[in-house]
């Protein structure tokens, strides 16, 4: 809608915002330092509205907690849009000048009255109306979200609706507003921006942009297919039907991290060639045909891109084992072996190639500047450019000189694919825990003397449900879904509501993803990690 997939503002903007909708983000555990910022801003008057099915720690500093039903975000946002339009809390002049398709948005949200959406979300109509008013009228409202928004079969629509809300109220393109997806991995933003996506080249421009593609073809001396490639999800489908024969997997452990694990394992075993490049012998590496040992953080040099478009230097601290190599070095040597010579002396040479090819984004961000300035927000086209703190400022230029208009994308609420029933009466939602990270290969190794609180997986269950089933805290329970079953200790906690249970995916001993469902967003390919139906009983 805004023409790019970047976080629109910076982490400093929490201090300038008046209202923050914090959606599907267990910030304290997944992004602790950002949580500290939000808490500090809350003390200075920021109204934090937590929208989350769980009573997460951020609720303590919140102005309000909308404890919505899992996967009902669109019902809530559409109702907020409904209220904002009905009560004339939007700026018609802004809508006229900078947007198109307002009429279809208006039509789409007509039936999402607060009463209608209250039944879906479990939030009272009054609270929906109040939240809509607060967001629309504060002057500066911001939205931050994490995987609680995207890990649904309707993840892309969830994000579209967040953008609809921001655009409708003009909360975009100025300080203290905007939309901030909080990224879960140190360089997930950077990997995508560098072109490690099926639909874009370095600099986050579309692969279908002929002129841009030509720039790379000239520099690299080859032809690049103009057709968008396959997402991970599509690749899995093609592995299943035998079309994909070879997979090169770098620093990822999909066997443990992806949904419906028993199925994932089966399709990986279908491959003729599985190459894994990693720092440990992960579950995925164990079934590979060839495993290449890579350098880890602490051993590599280069840059990362953080969650607010900041390029920062990562530096080598220790000499790695002489037998291992850096990712780019491995790829260069393999590439040369396959008849396309590639070689660089160091990471700076590679970065300078990135800077020259994607100069609109990174031209001005040299290693020298990063030494003195610590971090620079892209886009930063030239050495004398300060970097870009706020994207889309064009929305607030008088008379819209660029003529840019943003399109509303109205969306419909659809319930999670698998709803609880008699056989599987609980909704299982999954996420991260504070001390652990993803498939836990790194966080197994804490420094000596550090007391880790959560040392194993638990099923977090509400006291009412536990009481009804005769389950005590710490007792072993069996959790089963239509796809698999496992045994795990129960943790009785009011962090979840009755009917909802929670697990992380950190422990290979308790592989939560044997339970999760292989349903995906049709556009992004993101899996519905956040909702599936399970049964819980005392383990025999």
């Amino acid at each position: 809608m805004f023409g790019s997939g970047f976080p629109t503002n910076t982490l400093d903007d929490f201090y300038d915002a008046k209202v923050l909708l914090l959606m599907g983000s267990n910030t304290t555990e997944a992004h602790p330092i950002i949580a500290n910022r939000i808490k500090k801003a809350a003390k200075q008057g920021l109204k934090v509205i937590v929208i989350d099915p769980r009573k997460i720690d951020m609720v303590k500093v919140s102005h309000r907690h909308l404890q919505i039903e899992v996967g009902s975000d669109i019902a809530l946002i559409n109702a907020m849009i409904h209220v904002i339009i009905k009560e004339n809390l939007y700026n018609p002049e802004f809508i006229n000048q900078f947007t198109v398709d307002f009429d279809s948005l208006q039509k789409q949200v007509e039936r999402y009255t607060p009463e209608f959406s209250s039944k879906i979300t479990g939030i009272s109509p009054e609270e929906i109306v109040e939240t809509a008013r607060e967001y629309a009228t504060s002057g500066n409202s911001m939205i931050a979200y994490t995987l609680g928004i995207t890990e649904h079969h309707c993840g892309v629509n969830n994000v579209f609706d967040i953008a609809n809300l921001a655009l409708l109220t003009g909360n975009i393109g100025k300080k203290g507003t905007g939309i901030m997806p909080l990224r879960g991995q140190n360089n997930v933003q950077g990997a995508g921006d560098m072109g490690c996506l099926p639909n874009q080249l370095t600099g986050a421009k579309s692969i279908t942009d002929d002129e841009y593609r030509l720039r790379f073809e000239k520099e690299w001396g080859i032809q690049i297919p103009s057709k968008v490639g396959d997402t991970q999800t599509r690749t899995f489908e093609k592995m299943e039907n035998g079309e994909v024969k070879a997979l090169y997997c770098i620093g990822e452990n999909p066997i443990l991290a992806d949904v419906n694990m028993n199925h994932t394992r089966k399709i990986f075993e279908n491959l003729e060639l599985l190459i894994v490049q990693d720092i440990f012998l992960t579950d995925t590496a164990e079934i590979a045909d060839v495993v290449l040992p890579a350098m880890s953080w602490g051993e590599v040099d280069g840059t990362y891109t953080n969650t607010d478009r900041r390029i920062q230097r990562v530096r080598k601290a220790v000499e790695p084992d002489p037998g291992i190599k850096e990712d780019w070095e491995i790829l260069c040597e393999l590439s040369t072996r396959m008849g396309y010579p590639m070689s660089y002396n160091n990471s700076q040479e590679i970065w300078d190639e990135v800077r020259s090819l994607a100069h609109e984004m990174y031209g001005g961000i040299s290693y020298e500047r990063l030494e003195t300035e610590y971090s620079i927000h892209y886009p930063c086209p030239t050495e004398d450019h300060p970097g870009t703190f706020i994207m889309h400022e064009k929305f607030h230029q008088e008379n819209n000189p660029t003529g840019w208009k943003s399109k509303f994308v109205p969306v419909t609420y659809t319930e999670p694919i698998e709803m609880p029933d008699e056989e599987y009466p609980f909704v299982l939602t999954t996420g991260r825990r504070y001390e652990s990270y993803n498939t836990h290969f790194q966080t197994r190794y804490y420094a000596p003397g550090v007391k880790v609180k959560q040392t194993e997986e638990t099923l977090d269950i509400h006291p009412l449900d536990a009481g009804r089933l005769g389950i005590e805290d710490g007792q072993l329970v069996e959790v089963s879904s239509r796809r698999g079953a496992l045994t795990v200790k129960a943790k009785v906690t009011e962090q979840v509501v009755p009917g909802l249970v929670f697990m992380s995916f950190h422990w290979r001993e308790v592989p939560t993803n044997v339970l999760t469902i292989n349903e995906f967003d049709p556009i992004s390919g993101t899996a519905e990690f956040k909702a599936c139906a399970v049964n819980v009983s005392i383990a025999k």
Binding site: A246, E272, L273, F280, R315, V318, D321, Y374, Y434
Partner: protein, 136 residues
């Protein structure tokens, strides 16, 4: 004993991008503190960033390439591993076409490594079938 080295870097866990100062003794990270000069965290750290660094020195780290021979992963040289991959990839590419090869890139690796990764896929394999866990 070498003198203690202090290295400024950025945390490798979540996407916040906290600046850290690593204390290094005898080629081992021995302590991590938040970098007061870092604009993101102003010296703060979380439990992962400050303490979960021992994996870098873990004995279980991979130290040489492994090749599957007679059903088992066994130690191989880089040359053997490269030869095996190059031959297999070339064979699959010529037999089934470029659509039969996919790559999952690493969201933990540097921008520089990720740039080279997609260049490898597009220039050497000739395909856009590259994705990361941006969605998961």
């Amino acid at each position: 004993m070498e003198a203690t080295k202090h290295v400024k870097t950025v945390c490798g866990y979540c996407g916040t991008g906290c600046g850290l100062v690593l204390e290094v003794n005898n080629n081992r990270i021995t302590k991590i503190r938040g970098d007061k000069d870092a604009p993101v965290n102003n010296g703060q750290t979380c439990v992962k960033g400050a303490f979960a660094y021992e994996y870098v020195h873990a004995n279980e780290r991979l130290k040489y390439p492994l090749l599957r021979k007679a059903g088992k992963l066994v130690q191989a040289t880089w040359e053997e591993a490269y030869d095996f991959i190059a031959e297999k990839l070339t064979h699959i590419k010529t037999t089934y076409g470029t659509d039969a090869i996919s790559l999952f890139a690493c969201a933990r690796s540097t921008n520089e490594s990720n740039y080279v990764t997609q260049k490898f896929m597009r220039a050497v394999i000739g395909s856009n079938h590259i994705d990361g866990c941006n969605r998961t």
